[in-house]
C-alpha cells in the first residue's frame, strides 16, 4: 500500500528501510445499497430488493446488457440495506442502473448507493461516526 515517506533518526547510523510500493488491482467492488419504497413498508424482504436491482439493470441495459453477475453478501431487512459484490468493470453500470430506477411494481422506489469499497472491510463501519462517538474529533455540524 502507498504511504508517506518516513524519515528516521540516523543517530545510530542505521540505514533507512527501503520502501517498495506495489499496486494491486481490485477485481471486485462492494456496493452498499439502500432501498426506499413509497408508501413506506416496515420491512422490505431480500427477494424484493434483489428483484428491484435486477429490474433496474434490465430496464437500463436490456436482456443482454443487463446480464451482470451480482453476489448478495448481506441484507438487513429492517434497514432495507444490502451489500452486493460486482466485478469492477461493471460496478458503474450497476450504480447507474440502481440510481435510475424510479418505480417497481406499483410503488415508487429508490435504490441509493450509500457506500462503495474495493474491500469488504471498508463497508464495515463509518469511520467518521466511530471517531465522533469516541470523541476524538469534533463532529461536522
Amino acid at each position: 500500500m502507498e504511504g508517506g515517506a518516513v524519515s528516521l533518526n540516523n543517530a545510530g547510523g542505521s540505514e533507512a528501510p527501503r520502501k517498495r510500493t506495489i499496486n494491486l488491482p481490485c477485481d471486485s467492488k462492494y456496493l452498499k445499497i439502500r432501498m426506499t419504497l413509497e408508501p413506506e413498508q416496515s420491512t422490505i424482504p431480500r427477494e424484493l430488493f434483489a428483484r428491484a436491482l435486477n429490474e433496474s439493470l434490465l430496464q437500463l441495459y436490456g436482456l443482454a446488457g443487463g446480464a451482470v453477475a451480482l453476489e448478495f453478501i448481506k441484507y438487513d431487512p429492517s434497514e432495507a440495506t444490502g451489500i452486493i459484490k460486482v466485478d469492477n468493470s461493471v460496478s458503474q453500470q450497476v450504480w447507474a442502473a440502481s440510481c435510475l430506477l424510479t418505480e417497481y411494481g406499483e410503488k415508487k422506489c429508490r435504490l441509493e448507493v450509500i457506500d462503495s469499497s474495493s474491500v469488504l472491510v471498508g463497508l464495515a463501519f463509518d469511520s467518521r461516526e466511530v471517531t465522533a462517538k469516541l470523541g476524538l474529533f469534533e463532529p461536522d455540524t
Binding site: 437500463l60 436482456l63 443482454a64 446488457g65
Partner: protein
C-alpha cells in the same frame, strides 16, 4: 472535426414459413430493429444507436436489406438483429451478408446478392425479370450516406 464513421450491414431475411411475402418497408423494419435493440440492450443501448440506425434499402422480393449504424455501436445493432426471431408474427432469421465501412462496397455486395436472387426467381418473374433487375439497380445505386 473528426468525420462521423458508419457501418453498413447487408442482411438477408430468411422467412421460416411458406407464406407469400407481405410488403415490408424501411420504416416498419427500422421500428422492428429498434425494438430489438431496446429489448436486448435497454434504454441505454437504444439511446446510443437511435439516431444513427437507419434502413437504407429493403427489397421484399429478394428479402434483402441494407442497414446503416454508427461504427461505435455496430456490434450491438448486429447482435440485436441476429437475436430477432419474428417480424409481424412471422418466424424469420436474419443473416449478415456483408459488413462494410464504405457505402461503395455495401452497394456492390447488395447488388450482387439481389441479382443472384433475381436470377433464381427468373422462371417465376418471366417478362418482369428485366424490369425488376433495373429497378433494383436504380434503388441500390441511390443509397446515400
Amino acid at each position: 472535426m473528426v468525420r462521423f464513421k458508419n457501418r453498413y450491414l447487408v442482411l438477408e431475411l430468411i422467412w421460416k414459413d411458406s407464406k407469400t411475402n407481405e410488403p415490408l418497408d424501411e420504416r416498419a423494419l427500422v421500428n422492428v430493429f429498434r425494438e430489438s435493440v431496446q429489448l436486448n440492450f435497454g434504454d441505454h443501448g437504444l439511446g446510443q444507436c437511435y439516431g444513427s440506425l437507419q434502413v437504407k434499402y429493403m427489397s421484399p422480393l429478394t428479402n434483402t436489406c441494407v442497414v446503416r449504424c454508427s461504427r461505435d455501436h455496430y456490434q450491438q445493432v448486429w447482435c440485436a438483429i441476429t437475436l430477432l426471431t419474428e417480424i409481424n408474427q412471422r418466424p424469420v432469421l436474419l443473416r449478415l451478408l456483408k459488413l462494410s465501412g464504405t457505402i461503395r462496397e455495401c452497394r456492390q455486395a447488395a447488388l450482387e446478392h439481389v441479382c443472384r436472387k433475381l436470377k433464381d426467381l427468373e422462371p417465376r418473374l418471366k417478362a418482369e425479370y428485366g424490369r425488376c433487375v433495373e429497378t433494383a439497380k436504380q434503388k441500390i445505386s441511390a443509397i446515400e450516406l
